[in-house]
Amino acid sequence: MAKYQFTVDGKRVSVDAQPDMPLLYALRDDLALNNPHFGCGLAQCGACTVQLNGEPVRSCVMPVSAAAGKKVTTLAGLGTPEKPHPLQAAYVAEGVPQCGYCINGWIMTAAAALEKNPKASEAEMRDALAGLKCRCGTHAAILRAIKRAQTSMV
């Protein structure tokens, strides 16, 4: 057991944990945050994605020790209904999610990609999003929402 300090959505937090405990369990169980979801625990679906210093990471396999001293951003930290991230506003406008369980991963990953390259082409976005899963088949709507967000970010 060791103590790990990092920030989540701008707040300093401290978690007592085994060093190999995935960050996801710190966020969900210790900090009672909901938005990173457990989908596979194997880094294969992306439902657990958070940003670590702006990089999208799969928190279900990222050890909490690797987050020490870093900035974790979750979906709620990306934007709020009052102050939405352009992607969130676009996802709402396009009515993207169906069951919605995966959508966290798609937004967090796309947000990181757009942060680096706001004018990313469709091909670049597809590459950035590769590996994420959606079982409801909302992929085309996701791309539509990203285009919409890019338009509003210009």
Binding site: F38, Y91, P97, C134
Partner: protein, 702 residues
């Protein structure tokens, strides 16, 4: 911020509920929650807004929006004044499962009647104040002598008004009322496109999935399943998890779980726990021999569900092309986006279960039976789950959580790991379909035969109301009572001579830890239409638009039972969507073929009759006649992920309509329905075939 506050503050949907969901329930004199009380369906809050208590739930298809519109229409309100309260056994009657594709026709039918009756009753009460005739606009009732409102007439009080119930539970549940529902020509609210209500909270993460439920003192559990089906526990070594904080083993016969106060500790304990399993019998046949096994297996039950005309003579007539095919369909997991999760808490003799199951009323019944509690002491609350398809693993998690809550005396959260969801959810049954058709020189199909042989689609029931149908029940020695049923593909062509039937074979294992088969997404199964789609493509005869020479689809939709409303829906352009089920099925066919082509998981054994192509074996997509069509079909046959990366899945831009973005543009019918139906199971035939009176089917599908 909860969902309701969120709705209030975001403005997209201006709902100003003065009272929380159960506020009215706190008012004295609440009638019992039974279908015969109007108050079980409709409540008018003090501010005049309305709650509709829906015994189904919406998983992101917009079912609740449709219900809100239908209720608002009958009550002459704006849809924004209607909140749909759903999926909670404490606030709704058992209207069955979500049954996505029939959710409106089955579920909203009842609420439409209830709303019309509420409008009638309120009109009568208003007439005493304002005279007749009365007219209503957005809840304000006007008459010759003045105005009143729903809020004034009944806001915050009960109707205490009886309606007639058809004594059915589940999808067929219905009521009869004196009030007449509006004619479609009078509609002002129904038919208007309005946004879904669940999108924003999912995008901002401002409300809870079932996985997010936390109770004070809650323990985290992981259920330990055997390495494969047909195993019993030989021994457990509790010392193997010594040293993991607070972790302990809960065992009852062959049901094994670990619990711990911290979730990661429960995961560690589940990994560390040493369990020796004893295989019950010789291993299953290897996957490579599965279809051979099915072909040779003893038939438990055969049913020729549809027999029409003279099949034998029709096939023997001269001058016909005979098209034949066999399709091999593997066991399939629902493989929801996340493995199932449920939370259960037992307090003061009552149990509350939070579940992602589409059938919370049946969860309540199952949990009550498992725990030996009366039904009314169990409350099941549906919350959006990690994906929601068919008979997935959600019901098992709820039963496991309830048992563990009782065993530990604490609230328990059961969360499956990926392997639990994929390996142990009920499986779509493996089967072999044999099909043939005879086509005459003009391209007309004169005879059509389709026989499926495989495992029953009802080894376990379509819902979790019986302990025997749950994994926990089976691991405690309660064997399921398999129901032998399979089903036949629907087709909307008017073939003169046809035979549709099925044969079921025995389950591998009947108890302990079986490989359970149940409906896969759709109770009658997406596998059925393979041949039907295929033969359209390879029939080889004339005909337009990929119909392979088949005559145009004829609408043959039966009337809704007890309703009389036609199930034929109108497209947005007002034209009947003829053959819409076809279009949906066709998309499923392409998905299925993708698997076969890409991974070899299911071998398609296709050959055309000698009369057609000299007996050559070929894949259906080799036959596309025009290169562009061929390309589109190939593209759909490829891996979706690869197509996605290659950029072949096209988004639409700007304000283009969103329907049908993945559709073949040449197939307008499919384009129109694809998006709407792609994820919706069509649990309809089970009901329309008269199975509705079978309690095993009352939950419907989806």
């Amino acid at each position: 911020m909860d969902r309701r506050e969120f709705l209030k503050t975001t403005g997209g949907l201006v709902v100003s509920f003065a009272a929380p969901v159960e506020a009215l329930a706190q008012v004295a004199g609440k009638p019992a929650l039974v279908p015969t009380e109007l108050d079980s369906w409709i409540a008018v809050l003090p501010n005049g807004s309305v709650q509709a208590f829906f015994g189904k739930m919406d998983m992101g298809q917009g079912l609740d929006v449709a219900v809100a519109q239908i209720v608002a229409e009958e009550l002459d309100l704006g849809a924004d004044k209607v909140e749909v309260v759903m999926g909670d056994t404490a606030t709704s009657c058992n209207q069955g499962g979500a049954s996505g594709s029939t959710g409106v026709s089955n579920g909203a039918r009842l609420l439409r009647r209830a709303a019309a009756e509420a409008r009638r009753v309120l009109g009568e009460r208003a007439a005493e104040k304002v005279g007749t005739p009365v007219s209503v606009e957005d809840g304000i009732v006007s008459g010759p002598k003045g105005k009143t409102s729903y809020a004034e007439l009944i806001g915050g009080r009960y109707f205490h008004h009886q309606v007639e119930w058809n004594k059915q539970v589940g999808n067929p549940m219905d009521i009869k009322v004196p009030a007449k529902s509006k004619a479609p020509s009078e509609y002002k609210v129904v038919g208007k496109p309005i946004p879904r209500r669940d999108v924003a909270w999912k995008v901002y993460g401002t409300d809870e999935f079932v996985t997010d439920v936390r109770r004070p003192g809650m323990l985290h559990a992981r259920v330990i399943r055997p390495p494969r089906a047909a195993c019993k526990v030989r021994s457990i070594d509790p010392a193997s998890i010594k040293g993991i904080r607070g972790a302990r083993v809960i065992r009852e016969k062959d049901f094994v779980a670990v619990v711990a106060p911290k979730e990661w500790d429960a995961v560690r304990a589940a990994r560390a726990l040493k369990v020796e399993w004893e295989p019950l019998k010789a291993p299953f046949p290897p996957m490579s021999e599965l279809y051979q096994y099915i072909r040779g297996a003893k038939v438990v039950k055969r049913e020729d569900e549809v027999k029409q005309g003279d099949i034998a003579n029709a096939f023997n007539a001269a001058g016909l092309k005979v098209v034949q095919a066999e399709y091999e369909w593997p066991f399939q997991s629902h493989a929801s986006m996340g493995p199932a999760c449920a939370v259960a808490e037992i307090k003061d003799g009552s149990c509350t279960v939070w579940t992602g199951s589409q059938k919370p009323h049946f969860v309540r019944d199952g949990v009550a039976r498992l725990l030996g509690m009366p039904d009314d002491k169990v409350r099941a609350i549906w919350l959006a789950g990690p994906g929601s398809y068919g008979r997935n693993d959600a019901g098992d998690a709820a039963m496991d959580a309830a048992f563990l809550a009782k065993a530990t005396g604490k609230p328990v959260r059961v969360q499956g790991m990926r392997v639990d969801g994929t390996a142990w959810d009920p499986k779509g049954p493996a089967c072999v379909h044999r099909a043939r058709a005879a086509i005459d020189a003009s391209g007309k199909v004169v005879a059509y035969e389709f026989i499926s042989k495989g495992f029953s689609r009802q080894h376990i029931a379509t819902n979790e109301s019986q302990v025997a149908d749950s994994l926990i029940g089976q691991s405690m020695g309660v064997a399921p009572k398999p129901h032998q049923i399979f089903g036949t593909p629907s087709e909307s062509y008017g073939f003169e001579n046809k035979l549709l039937g099925w044969e079921t074979i025995p389950q591998f294992v009947e108890h302990c830890s079986p490989l359970r088969t149940s409906h896969f997404r759709d109770p009658v199964g997406p596998g059925d239409p393979f041949w039907f789609r295929a033969v359209r493509g390879r029939g080889g005869a004339r005909g337009g638009r990929g119909c392979g020479g088949f005559p145009p689809a004829l609408p043959q939709q039966p009337a809704a039972p007890g309703g009389g409303e036609s199930r034929r829906r109108k497209s947005r352009l007002g034209e009947p969507r003829q053959g819409q089920r076809h279009s949906v099925r066709r998309s499923q066919w392409h998905r299925g073929r993708r698997r076969r082509a890409g991974r070899g998981r299911s071998l398609e054994r296709t050959y055309l009759g000698a009369a057609l192509l000299g007996g050559a074996r070929l894949r259906s997509h080799h036959q596309s006649r025009d290169p562009a069509h061929h390309h589109r079909r190939q593209r759909r046959a490829g891996s979706f992920a690869h197509a996605f990366r290659r950029g072949e899945v096209r988004p639409r831009l700007g304000d283009e309509r969103r329907l049908g973005e993945l559709s073949d543009p040449r197939d307008g019918r499919r384009a129109a329905v694809h998006r709407h139906h792609a994820h919706q199971p069509s649990g309809d035939r089970a009901e329309w075939r008269g199975r509705a009176d079978d309690p095993r089917h009352s939950g419907g599908g989806g």
